[in-house]
């Protein structure tokens, strides 16, 4: 259990750092999607299925989609 | 009831005038005069009354109006000058822009000043004080151009002063729980010396700014010279005297003479008299250097304020009488001079002393008025200025202040010089060509001249009339009653008998006249004779009023720069650059803004963890 949680947290951190560091905005958006996805899984393991569902559908899917659309309107590089 | 009606008429009348002005200008002029005159009458009726009425309450503090000899004395001076200025304005302001606004602010300022002297507690005092400040600001800025800068200077200094006063007032309130002047007077004897000094310094700053005490006088010269002339008269003769009223209030009404003299071990009085002496000397010589008639008069006002404060701050009965009487006289002759210069400006379109001259034949009544005014200003016997200056000198000598007396004397020499410059450059000498067709002042301007000239001479010959009242005032402030008769003061501490002087003067006059008679027939000497050795000179080119006193300027100029003004401008410049630098904190870069937030958070965190501040 602790291994799963730790690895998820590390994934989240890595995603977050990547989202900040990447200069390609599309990749950064995907990286932030990774954070949400890991968070959703984490929530599930922490016995919060309601939050996990919300996080998965909103954080991982919709927000990423909105970001991607926004990037398409502007420039892809930072 | 009378006091309330005075204030109601004053304030209501101001606004009514404004509203009426939108409909008809003749009606507005009529109403403005009517209100001023009726206020004068009402105030006259209130003579000798004493009383106190609570008329409203503000933040659980009763607002009190009170009338006594002191406030009556100031009120009548205020109202007379305003009335005369309003009458003067009738022709002066004709055809100018925003005349409704002008009258509104003039009357509002007047009402506020009446409110100041009639208020019996410090809240209403402060309220009226501020109304006076901003209405005067709007009028000073009225002439546009340089007036804007003058107005700015005035209002900023005046706000600084009133903030000091606010602290002082609130401190009194928090200490004594009341702001009624009478009650504070009863309570203040228990105060510690330091506290009293603290309060006094705050009030000194507040009233010093308004009365243009050196070194916080710098607003006055531009403000007086840039304001519309009738309002310059009001400014110089009464608005700045509100500071004098404040001084009397705080030094004698609140503290009382005994406390005042002991303030800071007597050093407070010492510093105040010293400041007053400086206020006499420096501005006098600054006045000498001015080429703008109104600016000259403005500097002279500061110097005269110095005399008044000197008289008041000595702390003896005679000094106080002298100071208050000089206040009254200064009201008369300074109003007269400003109005006269206003009339000249009205007729000739300029007040530059270098381009005027020879107007004696064109504007004789104005000349007589200016003559009376300058005589009063110098203190020539048989004018009221003589009496008050006499009293002040007498006080200084009696109380062993040789240096102060010397300062006052030097001030008087300077006064003679600049008064002569004023009268010569305007009325004597050569008439410039472009002024050939100057018309005399209109009747509505002459009326104030005549009234004020009469006042100057009348009270110069019969000083007992005002002195009696002033004596009552000083008596109500806890001094001994002096023995006053219609010709002067009969007491041994400062005998003054105008009859003697009158007699001496009359004898001298007869002697001079006699010699004048026997000295042969009148020779008319043309200007060319004395100036160009009889050769015809092209007119207008040799105007010898230009650079009057030039050799003397060269001598005193390096010493009589307005150092304080330069100091303040440097200060303002420094503040402006500081403010620009502060503004640059908001650089528009989002990254920096986020750093600010993070920085703030980390400072808060560190203050606990590292420094353990809270």
């Amino acid at each position: 259990m602790i291994i799963i949680i730790t690895s998820l947290v590390i994934t989240m951190l890595a995603g977050a750092i990547a989202a900040c560091a990447l200069r390609d905005l599309l990749s950064a958006a995907i990286a932030s999607c990774l954070v949400s996805l890991a968070a959703a899984i984490l929530f599930y393991f922490l016995q919060a299925p309601d939050v996990a569902m919300a996080e998965a559908s909103i954080g991982a899917a919709l927000v990423t989609a909105i970001l991607v659309i926004a990037i398409r309107r502007t420039e892809r590089q930072e | 009831m009378l006091i309330q009606s005075i204030l109601i008429i004053a304030f209501g009348g101001a606004f009514l005038t404004y509203i009426l002005g939108k409909a008809s200008s003749a009606l507005r002029d009529f109403l403005a005069v009517l209100i001023s005159v009726s206020l004068t009458v009402l105030i006259f009726l209130a003579y000798g009354k004493t009383g106190e009425i609570a008329f409203a309450s503000f933040m659980n503090l009763p607002l009190v109006l009170r009338i006594n000899h002191l406030s009556w004395f100031f009120a009548i001076a205020i109202q007379t000058v305003t009335t005369l200025s309003v009458i003067f304005s009738l022709s002066y302001m004709k055809g100018k822009e925003r005349v409704d606004f002008y009258y509104l602010m003039m009357l509002l300022c007047n009402s506020a000043m009446l409110g100041i002297v009639l208020s019996g507690d410090f809240v209403s005092f402060y309220i009226f004080w501020e109304i006076m400040s901003w209405s005067a600001f709007l009028l000073i800025s009225y002439n546009r151009g340089g007036a804007l800068y003058a107005g700015m200077k005035y209002i900023v200094m005046s706000i600084i002063g009133s903030m000091c006063m606010l602290i002082g007032i609130m401190s009194l309130y928090s200490t004594y729980g009341t702001l009624n002047i009478r009650e504070i007077h009863d309570l203040i004897s228990t105060a510690s010396g330091e506290y009293l000094l603290f309060i006094s310094i705050l009030f000194l700053a507040a009233f010093g700014v308004k009365s243009a005490l050196w070194p916080i006088h710098v607003w006055l010269p531009p403000a007086h010279s840039e304001a519309p002339s009738p309002f310059s008269a009001v400014l110089s003769s009464i608005l700045i005297k509100m500071g004098i009223y404040g001084f009397v209030l705080i030094l004698y009404v609140i503290s009382g003479a005994a406390l005042y003299l002991g303030l800071g071990g007597g050093s407070f009085r010492y510093i105040l008299t010293l400041l007053a002496a400086i206020t006499i000397i420096i501005p006098t010589f600054n006045a000498l250097m001015q080429d703008d008639a109104k600016r000259l008069l403005a500097w002279s006002s500061i110097a005269q304020i110095g005399y008044i404060i000197l008289g008041i701050s000595i702390g003896t009965s005679l000094g106080l009488i002298g100071g208050l009487f000089h206040f009254f006289n200064h009201v008369a002759f300074k109003a007269l001079l400003f109005l006269a210069v206003g009339a000249i400006e009205y007729r000739t379109g300029t007040r530059d002393l270098n381009s005027l001259g020879g107007l004696i034949k064109k504007m004789p009544v104005t000349f007589i008025a200016v003559l009376a005014g300058t005589f009063g200003l110098i203190g020539i016997p048989l004018t009221n200025g003589f009496v008050s200056k006499w009293l002040i000198y007498k006080t200084l000598i009696l109380n062993n202040h040789p240096f102060l007396a010397f300062a006052a004397l030097v001030g008087t020499w300077g006064t003679i010089l600049y008064s002569y410059k004023l009268i010569h450059n305007i009325f004597l000498g050569q008439l410039p060509e472009n002024l050939e067709h100057t018309k005399p002042a209109p009747a509505s301007m002459k009326l104030p001249f005549i009234i004020l000239s009469v006042v100057i001479v009348l009270f110069g010959i019969l000083p007992g009339i005002p002195l009696k009242l002033i004596n009552l005032i000083t008596a109500s402030l806890g001094f001994d009653l002096l023995n006053i008769n219609i010709w002067g003061i009969a007491s041994e501490s400062g005998p003054l008998n105008i009859i003697n002087i009158f007699a001496a003067f009359a004898v001298a006059l007869i002697v001079v006249w006699f010699f004048f008679l026997i000295s042969g027939k009148k020779v008319v000497i043309s200007q060319d004779n004395s100036y160009a050795a009889g050769i015809d000179v092209p007119k207008g080119k040799y105007h010898y009023t230009v650079d009057f006193y030039n050799p003397m300027f060269r001598m005193i100029k390096p010493y009589f720069r307005d150092y304080m003004d330069e100091f303040y401008s440097q200060l303002v410049k420094a503040l402006a650059s500081l403010s620009d630098r502060v503004r640059r904190l908001y650089c528009g870069d989002l990254g920096v803004y986020v750093i600010y937030i993070v920085l703030f958070l980390s400072i808060l965190v560190i203050s606990k963890i590292g420094l353990n501040l809270w």
């Binding site: 309601d50 899917a61 398409r72 | 958070l601």
Partner: protein
Amino acid sequence: MRKIFSLIILIILALGVYICISEIPFGKPGTAVGNYYIEKGIEETGAVNIVTSIVLNYRGFDTLGEVTILFLASLGLGAILATVQNKTRGVITPPSLILTTACRFLFPFILMFGAYIFLHGHLTPGGGFQGGAIIASGFLLRYLGCPQKRIRQSSFVAIESLGGIAFIIIGLLGFTAGGFFLFNFLPKGVANTLLSAGIIPLIYIAIGLKVGAEMAGIIDTLIEES
């Protein structure tokens, strides 16, 4: 320079936060209210899913606020984008047939799944927000798969508004019936059945539709503008 500076500040802050947080005992949550909810929740609200009972009953007012925030987001986005006038549409490469067909095929199922989630919010994990989000992702899929097909913006707006109004009306009905805004005035029913928990399913329907419409509306506005 600035980067170094901000790095230093961040390190200091991190250190400070670490010290602060290290003194806070984690993992021992105070459960003053939580225990009450667990004990009395089902009894008082009739919802088996405690989370739902908290979200919609105990703290229903918060939910109203949150719904409003979503509403605001879409409204604000619409307001800002409505005035920006640059409709330079990029060339859209038509998606492949397989994708289009799959999208069409999947779309109703996704909608149904979303509806299921918000209808069963009081019984199983999930609820209006989650259901709405899933519905919106269905719309997203549809927009990506069949970009030619559009739904009128105004219908989204209407559903949003109606959902919000429905929420408020239910609240006000509770006010008239029980004296409290958002009072659970309907019979609680038998726990673990679909028709239980009083107003909770009704509100969830409103929220589900509203959230779905809002999210889909946001995506629609963005795609419309791009």
